[in-house]
């Protein structure tokens, strides 16, 4: 810790560089990765490939949006992968009763599970990782039991309005991308400009201090886990609309992807610091890396797992290291 002298001293040069690296490192890496990929592969900068990457990023991005709020409060949500899959299956089943049911049913169920997560964590003071780990198991169990142990696949009518939400295009760009961008703008405004956003940062920074300042700590936590559940359910529903079916095996390992994206985007796992736009950059960076691995072709999905695990470890190491150099925060 710095001791405060008579005159306030600003951060030193190396601290400023660390801060910049932490905040914009992901963006710089993304730009470098995109340039390198487009120079290496002719197939990278094609409209089809970019469009495909954008749409497949959109679903992960929505999950990462909710996760960003959770991580800024100093928590973690391991249930999002299961909720994503559950949301997709519920949406596909519900689509036979119209678009409203297809959207509201997954939001209601996944939001409710998120709410229960939040209540157990905030009101009963249970550890976030164990509560959401149990929710991950439980949600997967519910998913399996409503699909005859995973053997039944519900299809979405290709001509329905719900399918258009996933497959339709506006100005040549897929509808899920527009929806995701709108959600990110809304999320950023809420986090930066609303009182709730201030509470989110305050709770993550120092829970006791936040409580002393009169921030509703428990309510804030309940809200972020509910938000995370809603985001995961919505992402699942949009994904089902895109695939025109509810696929039961989706979403395993998605919690790691979402956490990676958020952390790569500069949000601190210890809470209290982070930004929404960073998470979007983190998602894009992950997807570009996956795309490059796919382009190389000889590397199969097993290598992707190795690379993404190692990548998360590297980013967290870098973040911890930068955080240590920069004590001002």
């Amino acid at each position: 810790m710095k001791t405060s002298g008579d005159e306030p001293t600003g951060p030193t040069r190396s601290e400023r560089i660390s801060a910049l690296a932490q905040q914009h490192g992901a963006l710089v890496t993304l730009v470098v990765a995109v340039i390198a990929a487009s120079l290496s592969f002719d197939t990278f900068m094609t409209a089809d490939n970019l469009e495909n990457m954008a749409v497949s990023s959109a679903f992960l991005a929505v999950v990462a949006l909710g996760m960003t709020f959770v991580i800024i409060t100093g928590g973690i949500d391991l249930s999002v992968g299961s909720l994503f899959a559950l949301g997709g299956v519920l949406a596909a089943w519900g689509s036979q009763y119209g678009t409203a049911v297809a959207l509201l049913l997954p939001l209601a169920v996944c939001g409710l599970i998120g709410l229960v997560n939040g209540l157990l964590i905030a009101r009963s003071r249970l550890a976030p990782f164990i509560v959401t780990l149990a929710a991950m198991l439980g949600a997967r169990g519910i998913l399996l039991s409503i699909t005859d142990e995973g053997s039944k696949t519900y299809l979405v009518d290709k001509d329905s309005f719900f399918a258009t939400l996933g497959q339709g295009k506006v100005l040549g760009i897929g509808a899920p991308v527009w929806i995701t961008l709108a959600l990110f703008v809304a999320g950023a405004v809420v986090l930066r400009r609303s009182r709730f956003g201030q509470y989110v940062y305050a709770v993550g920074g120092n829970e006791d201090a936040a409580a002393l300042m009169g921030a509703p700590v428990a309510r804030t936590k309940v809200t972020v886990y509910t938000l995370s559940g809603l985001c995961a359910g919505l992402a699942g529903a949009l994904n089902a609309a895109w695939l025109v079916s509810g696929v039961t095996i989706l979403g395993s390992g998605m919690e790691l992807e979402a956490i990676s994206a958020v952390v790569i985007g500069g949000t601190l796992l210890t809470g209290g610091f982070g930004f929404i736009s960073g998470s979007l950059v983190g998602v894009l960076l992950l997807k570009v890396i996956q795309n490059v691995i796919n382009q190389i072709g000889s590397l199969d999905s097993a290598y992707q797992q190795v690379v993404s695990g190692a990548f998360l470890a590297l980013v967290v190491i870098a973040q911890t290291w930068l955080g240590r150099r920069r004590r001002v925060l």
Binding site: F129, S145, Q305, L312, A313, I317, T320
Partner: protein, 320 residues
């Protein structure tokens, strides 16, 4: 708040709660046993008990390592992937002899543990995140080494998986021996005491001059090695290496066993007896649901509820 501050009745209630939290798991096992004896046909047979003992062995062995990690105020989410990695390594090296393959598989698991421990001890990454990274990378590595299911045709492995001494399966004997060993390590060795001190309060342990980093690394190496042993034994029982699904959700079962057994997630205490009973409880719960033809998905939901209940009960003690 101390007990003095509470009235007589409140203190009694508090004491009962505390006992229930510590020994409730044995009560749970007893209730499930009695329930099964009463309503499940053919439950009370030597054959059934052998089956249950063989099935609980891998979970129990993983839970022993998890108990050490949780006792140090950490957690190890990579155990399922370590099981997968060990089964892949075993299959790859069986050509060089069974024992060499076994040793390589266990060293592989210990190496993942070393990576976990180094990230946690030297760089200061939270255990959840460090072991989450190795959970994904480890499963990927297992699949890179052995892309699909492979039969294990090895006489030594086969006898390890299905053999017995005086009617007690080898797997159950090995699990029991490891449980005794870990209980001894926790209670009687310097390492065990240091581990508990670190789990209790890491800053205090550091101030007291304990080798915090070395102990933490050793904890995760033990957890990795134990998970690898569990993977090897599960392979012997299944007579096949299946890196895709071996050890899936094992971290959950292990954490449940440990927490249900009365080890607090906040570290500083390890209950090996309770962990054994916790593993048996999960096994009996699963067996009960399956024997009454309830679908496997119900087992997952039931386990999720048991986890929450156990952690909720542990919370009462924490508040004191």
């Amino acid at each position: 708040m101390t007990d003095l501050a509470l009235g007589g009745k409140a203190a009694d209630r508090e004491r009962i709660l505390r006992h229930l939290q510590s020994y409730g798991v044995y009560l749970g096992v007893a209730v499930l046993l009695l329930l099964n004896i009463a309503v499940t046909p053919h439950f009370l047979s030597a054959e059934n008990f052998r089956t249950q003992a063989v099935q609980v062995a891998p979970v129990l062995i993983v839970a022993l390592g998890m108990a050490l990690a949780i006792g140090s105020e950490g957690v190890d989410l990579s155990v399922g992937s370590v099981m997968a990695l060990s089964t892949s390594l075993l299959s790859l090296y069986l050509g060089y002899g069974t024992w060499i393959a076994l040793i390589v598989a266990i060293i592989g698991g210990a190496a993942i543990g070393l990576a976990n421990g180094s990230l946690i001890a030297f760089i200061g990454i939270q255990p959840i995140v460090a072991t989450l990274a190795l959970m994904v990378a480890g499963r990927g590595l297992a699949l890179v080494l052995l892309p699909q299911l492979k039969d294990v045709r090895d006489p030594t492995m086969a006898s390890l998986g299905s053999g017995d001494v005086l009617g007690i399966p080898y797997l159950a004997l090995i699990a029991a021996a490891l449980a005794l060993l870990v209980a001894f390590v926790v209670r009687r060795t310097t390492f065990g005491r240091q581990l508990l001190a670190i789990g209790d309060s890491r800053p205090a342990a550091r101030l007291a001059g304990l080798p915090v980093r070395r102990v933490l690394i050793l904890v995760y190496v033990c957890s990795g090695a134990l998970a690898a042993i569990a993977g090897v034994l599960a392979t012997a029982r299944l007579t096949a290496s299946d890196p895709t699904s071996l050890g899936n959700l094992m971290e959950l079962s292990a954490i449940t066993a440990v927490v249900v057994g009365g080890t607090p997630l906040s570290g500083g205490r390890v209950r090996i007896g309770g962990t054994v009973a916790g593993a048996v409880l999960i096994q009996l719960l699963t067996a009960t649901l399956i024997k009454h033809d309830l679908p496997p998905s119900w087992t997952q939901i039931a386990q999720a509820i048991v986890i929450i209940l156990a952690v909720y009960a542990a919370r009462e003690r924490g508040k004191r």
